[in-house]
Amino acid sequence: MIAKSSIFLPQGRTALAILVMAAAAVCSADDRNPFANDPKAAKAGEYEFRINCALCHGLGAHGGGRGPDLTRAQKKHTHNDAEMFQVISNGIPGTVMPANGTNGQGVGMTDEEIWQIITYIRSVEMKAPAKPVGNAEHGKQLFYGEANCSLCHTVAGKGGRVGPELTAVGGSRTREAIIDSVRNPSRRLAWGLTEATKEFPQEYETVTVVTGDGTEIKGVALNEDNFSVQMMDASEQIYLLDKDKLRSFKKSRESMMPVYSPNLLSDKDLDDIVAYLISVGAK
């Protein structure tokens, strides 16, 4: 097999939008799953799912660090098999969900294989929505109040800028993944800028530099290459620096975000904050 990028390269939004429109016209004749409830197709779909989807959605479709839990009864972008077929075929503009065959990973799926995957997802999803956990209203108060989340994170246009924007996170990641990110922020750094042709997105790494005049700056990397770094410090100041002019350059995978241990943020309060993020992300 030749060269498959291990992380997908989301294509241009315009191209995706065009594809969505084009495919909507083409696929209308074929919007019924020919394998609905066929256990053999579900098994084939499980293997296809592992190969094509598990990178983000996890081996059992329970969601990974990057993609939503597809065993949830309700899905944000699809309400029926036909819509799911469209989403798998064409991706979701504005998200990291790529169009079939464009993620640089593998050859993509035939229509038949996509239907098999849908059959598999239907076979493992819950039949009723999970009982909501937490108090979203209280979570919102905490987010913008004493939990200090909004000092660094923006939700729905309001908040700080040094951390990842979180408006969509409740819809694109599992509850467990969000809790894990709060309790262990360094375990899986969030993705930042994704460039069209570059294999790996920039991550929220912590950068500490000492400039030529001896000033120490600590912040998150907005982007970096071998010769320059673009970073933002906790006061949201952007620095554009040449590495060869720095006295020192240190990069760390220890996140700037503090570890929210249970004695800093109780399980209940965290549930409330996650409930708030999920309520926003579902919109």
Binding site: M1, I2, A3, K4, S5, S6, I7, A44, E46, Y47, E48, R50, I51, A54, L55, L59, G64, G65, G101, G104, Q105, G106, V107, G108, M109, T110, E113, R187, R188, E195, A196, T197, K198, E199, F200, E203, E224, D225, N226, F227, R253
Partner: protein
């Protein structure tokens, strides 16, 4: 004067038929014109790329006549105008935008001032190599229903005589007129609907165009073909999976040989002294599951020594037996002569750097040059052997290197002045989890899922300089993230490479220190090469969707 008028005057036999001057016979004029043109053609016959010119390519360092620059595969230029002292003034001279999207993996050719290259979607073009201005452009009609595994990529052309040659994504081989881009011949090698395709730059050897097929993720039966450069007639085919009655057939369980994979999708090398082609092969199919194809699975992941005239195998060396991790051994095999030793070296996707005696095919050394967890023992020949527990499992477990390998298709370089081998490498481990699939023609056939373990170490990318006589790593240059760029080395004491962040970088070939860089605005998936025109050295590389050329001011 426009062409139409010119032609009309010719056929009318004179100055436009005004009648004032005496008329010559039109036929006599045509004959005269024909003689004149024939005379001109003989004058310019020397400009054709003969096989002798390729064999003696060191006599014309201003040109770049094969994928790797010459037959040895070393991607080394003897030009030294751009060197460790002057490189700091290197500047972009021109940029050619291909207009295509996706990864551009091409390695251009340059012959007497004209640059020939390919772009995504099977485009080929010729440029004025001084200015980047196009002379011709050819777009192959790619079928809409092809599903190549890894993008609509193409790694370049071969040139011989007055033609350039390209393999296409639907498994055709075509010849184009080098002066016009006009199609001369077009032959079908295999059915693309069953997963066969070409992405490789062919190799011109004698009067033959040698090419290896892609499709290891579809359960193809791999082959290396040779076509008559003049006519496109197939002269030989070497099946990389032996059929019944052929040696090696017993290394396949049951009928698994029929869909055994072993593609040959990167350009091999040629030794004129022994008339042997050295061509490497890729993974057995399914790529990530050994069940159902018990045995060594010859000649997957193998270096083949083939007689150039007949395609008959002289010897073979299999790097990874019974591969279950997609570790195609398709990396360019580089011929190195050290004293009386005739060696061939390959930095393999499985994480080991191999040196083989190219007269006998015997292994001389195999050293890990990246993070390797799949093997900790050797067989009697010294070949690394896979641990049982490295096989993919249903739950998935981590193996290093990952499926993308320690290196992949990135062209390496060998510099005879530093006696170092330069290769792009990455440390990335993957989780391999079985996903058995039935074979269906034209459908993906992996047998396993694999994806990077996010909680493992971050993936690291390097340029590594290896001493091929010992396998020791002399220096390494760390990239910000892993790159797919190839490597060029020059007599100017430099190594050129690109990175995922879009930089083109010149590095001191002895020390690994970066000396110069230029931001090209798109990630690099291609190797650099060098040429010269009117005494000026150029270095060229593709990035993003464009081709860049650099020279001193």
């Amino acid at each position: 004067m426009n062409l139409r008028w010119d032609r009309e005057s010719l056929y009318r036999g004179g100055s436009g038929g005004s009648g004032e001057r005496p008329r010559r016979s039109p036929r006599a004029l045509l004959v005269l014109f024909g003689v004149y043109v024939a005379f001109l053609l003989t004058l310019h016959a020397y400009a054709q790329v003969t096989v002798e010119r390729i064999v003696n390519s060191q006599k014309e360092p201003q040109n770049w006549l094969t994928y790797s620059g010459d037959y040895s595969g070393r991607r080394f230029s003897t030009l030294d105008q751009v060197n460790t002292t002057t490189v700091h003034t290197l500047a972009a001279k021109w940029v050619y935008q291909t207009g295509a999207t996706g990864k551009i993996e091409t390695s251009p050719l340059v012959v007497d001032g004209v640059l020939y290259a390919t772009a995504q979607d099977d485009r080929a073009f010729a440029l004025d190599a001084r200015t980047g201005r196009p002379i011709w452009m050819y777009q192959y009609p790619v079928p809409t229903d092809i599903r190549p595994c890894c993008g609509h990529v193409n790694r370049g052309l071969a040139i011989l005589g007055d033609k350039v040659f390209m393999g296409t994504l639907d498994a055709h081989v075509i010849a184009l007129d080098a002066k016009t881009g006009n199609l001369v011949w077009n032959v079908t090698s295999a059915d693309y609907r069953a997963g066969y395709s070409y992405t490789v730059a062919p190799l011109a050897v004698k009067n033959l165009i040698v090419i290896g097929v892609s499709g290891g993720e579809y359960g193809i039966r791999g082959f290396i073909d040779a076509y008559d450069a003049a006519t496109g007639e197939r002269k030989w085919r070497f099946y990389t999976v032996p059929g019944p009655g052929e040696a090696g057939h017993e290394t396949w369980e049951g009928d698994s040989w029929k869909i055994g994979g072993a593609p040959a999708w990167n350009t091999g090398t040629y030794d004129p002294a022994t008339n042997q082609i050295f061509w490497p092969t890729g993974n057995p199919s399914p790529s990530n599951r050994g069940e159902g194809r018990a045995g060594d699975n010859l000649y997957s992941n193998t270096l083949l020594a083939l007689d150039a005239d007949t395609g008959k195998m002289n010897w073979h060396f299999q790097f990874t037996k019974h591969d279950e991790h997609d570790w195609d051994a398709t990396q360019v095999p580089v011929m190195i002569d050290a004293g009386s030793k005739h060696l061939i070296a390959q930095a393999n996707r499985n994480g080991f750097f191999y040196v083989i005696d190219r007269s006998t095919g015997k292994l001389i050394l195999a050293n890990a040059y990246g993070k390797v967890t799949w093997s900790d023992t050797r067989d009697a020949e010294g070949r690394p052997v896979a641990k049982k527990e490295a096989s993919p499992t249903l739950e998935g477990h981590t193996v290093c290197p990952g499926a993308l390998g320690t290196t992949n298709f990135m062209a390496p370089a060998y510099n005879p002045k530093t006696a170092l081998f330069y290769v792009t490498a990455r440390d990335q481990c993957d989780i391999f989890s079985t996903a058995p699939q039935p074979y269906e023609a034209g459908h993906a056939y992996y047998g396993s899922a694999y994806f990077p373990s996010e909680e493992a170490e971050p993936y690291r990318g390097y340029l590594k300089a290896i001493d091929p006589l010992t396998g020791a790593i002399q220096w390494k240059f760390e990239h910000t993230s892993p790159t797919w760029s190839g490597v060029l080395s020059t007599a100017g004491g430099l190594v050129f490479t690109g990175d995922a962040e879009g930089n083109f970088v010149a590095i001191n070939a002895l020390t690994g220190m970066p000396l110069w860089h230029f931001q090209m605005g798109g990630a690099v998936y291609a190797p650099p090469m060098a040429f010269a025109i009117d005494g000026k050295e150029y270095v060229a590389i593709a990035a993003g969707s464009a081709l860049y050329a650099f020279a001193l001011p």
